[in-house]
């Protein structure tokens, strides 16, 4: 046998697949040929890796489920966009259900601030930097799987006196560090760009009703998202948008339901008034009785 013939057979030989006669011939050649011997050792070294895996392992590696990729791409899109969707309130549906942290975090914060601002008439102002931070963090303030939500929000809500640090930890443990960032930015956010979304909290202390209005300038006026808290289930609500010049616009009504509390439903509304014209929002009931007054601070109208 020539070296060339032997070489080509060495792979099968290394794996013990040659028939006995041929194996003998090859071994005979190897006894006197160092180069071919070295090659066999090398191929046996490669062959020894084969024992580390099974045929099934190779199949698994070759065909990871594509739907995982599809889900990843979907999830990525959702996570990247959810914040933006919330701020843009872009859905055409009348009710925007947001089961995510974003809104819950806002709400928890609003509760905290409104309760801590009993002596200070700065309810709205105190939340302003956060709406700015919220906007900036649009994509970072992503919601984790909504299934994580129910266990978290009641805690955040029931402990309004928790320190911001510990609360943010709770809220973001499973996800990113949005609240931390948001709060960090809140300290420094002195200026705001025009045209970005804003969040305004309001509270009716006597009744313990709360409302948060999310406002985003649009081509036709302002897109609004409204969330209420403490208002009895079954209440028919309406938002009255009040402009500086006295104009008032009323939105269609919505009904507060147990479900809307559970889902943290944000009621989607529109007004033709521009954000800079708006001095306050009033959440009123069917009869026009004021439930919650939501002031818009002056700096939001610049």
């Amino acid at each position: 046998m020539t070296c060339e013939e032997v070489r080509i057979a060495l792979g099968a030989h290394a794996l013990g697949a040659l028939d006995p006669e041929e194996a003998l011939e090859v071994d005979h050649h190897l006894a006197t040929c160092e180069a071919c011997g070295a090659e066999l050792v090398e191929l046996e070294g490669v062959g020894s890796f084969l024992g580390k895996v099974s045929e099934r392992d190779v199949e698994l590696v070759a065909s990871p489920p594509r739907r995982v990729l599809d889900r990843l791409l979907n999830d990525r899109v959702k996570r990247a966009r959810r914040g933006r969707i919330l701020m843009a309130v872009a859905a055409s549906a009348a009710v925007l259900v947001v089961g995510g942290t974003v809104w819950t975090a806002i709400q928890a914060r609003s509760v905290m601030e409104t309760s801590s601002s009993a002596q200070a008439p700065a309810v709205a102002q105190s939340a302003n930097p956060e709406s700015r931070a919220q906007q900036d963090q649009g994509s970072a303030l992503v919601a984790p799987l909504s299934s994580e939500e129910p266990s978290r929000s009641p805690e955040a809500r029931s402990q309004p006196s928790k320190s911001p640090a510990s609360r943010s930890q709770t809220a973001d443990k499973a996800d990113e560090e949005p609240a931390e960032k948001a709060e960090g930015q809140a300290d420094t956010a002195a200026t705001r760009q025009p045209g970005e979304g804003r969040e305004f909290p309001g509270v009716n202390k006597a009744e313990q009703y709360r409302a948060t209005v999310l406002a985003l300038p649009s081509d036709t006026g302002t897109e609004l998202g409204v969330q209420v808290g403490g208002v009895p289930v079954g209440t028919v609500c309406r938002l009255v948008v009040v402009a500086a010049d006295g104009r008032r616009e009323e939105t269609p009504t919505w009904v507060v339901s147990r479900q809307s509390y559970q889902d943290n439903t944000v009621f989607r509304q529109d007004t033709t008034l521009a954000l800079r014209e708006i001095v306050r929002f009033e959440v009123v009931d069917q009869t026009g009785r004021l439930l919650v007054n939501v002031p818009v601070p002056e700096d939001a109208r610049k």
């Binding site: 070489r7 080509i8 057979a9 060495l10 792979g11 099968a12 290394a14 794996l15 697949a17 040659l18 028939d19 041929e22 090398e42 191929l43 070294g45 490669v46 062959g47 020894s48 890796f49 084969l50 580390k52 895996v53 099974s54 045929e55 392992d57 190779v58 698994l60 590696v61 070759a62 065909s63 990871p64 489920p65 739907r67 995982v68 990729l69 889900r71 990843l72 791409l73 999830d75 990525r76 899109v77 996570r79 990247a80 443990k173 499973a174 990113e176």
Partner: protein, 170 residues
Amino acid sequence: MSAADTADEELVRTLFDEHAGPLYGYVLRLTGDSGRAEDVVQETLLRAWRHPDALAGRPVRAWLFTVARNLVVDQHRAKKARPQETGDEALAVLPADDELERAVESWAVAEALAALRPEHREVLLEVYYRGRSVKEASATLGIPAGTVKSRTYYALRALKLALEERGLAP
């Protein structure tokens, strides 16, 4: 779609293409359940996507396997008792023990084999995993015995390269 979105999508696809196979194999072996394995792979790759900084300067594969393993452990605990929350950071610093290192290695071997040209992989499956002789493989594959021999030779040569690419020197 913005440039950032496109770059994001690229990253997700790259993570999937480069790691989903071995990761899925590893997790499936741990869980024995394809549905759960898919969930764990998805969550693991998602974390990698969200924490590119956590991946910088460390062996990506070992990090992914560690995260996946801990997700499996957490799932297991969650089934028995109340789930324990574990942050990504905690997961990432868990030392890679021998078992994990071995797993990373063998799945890299499987990956190297999967990366071979089909005819090379096929001949190794016949000759090594199914224990067929050159003659038997020739009959099964419908190719001359000489071709089985040469393919086996080139398959092992190609495998050597594929292993070396993955840092596994025979």
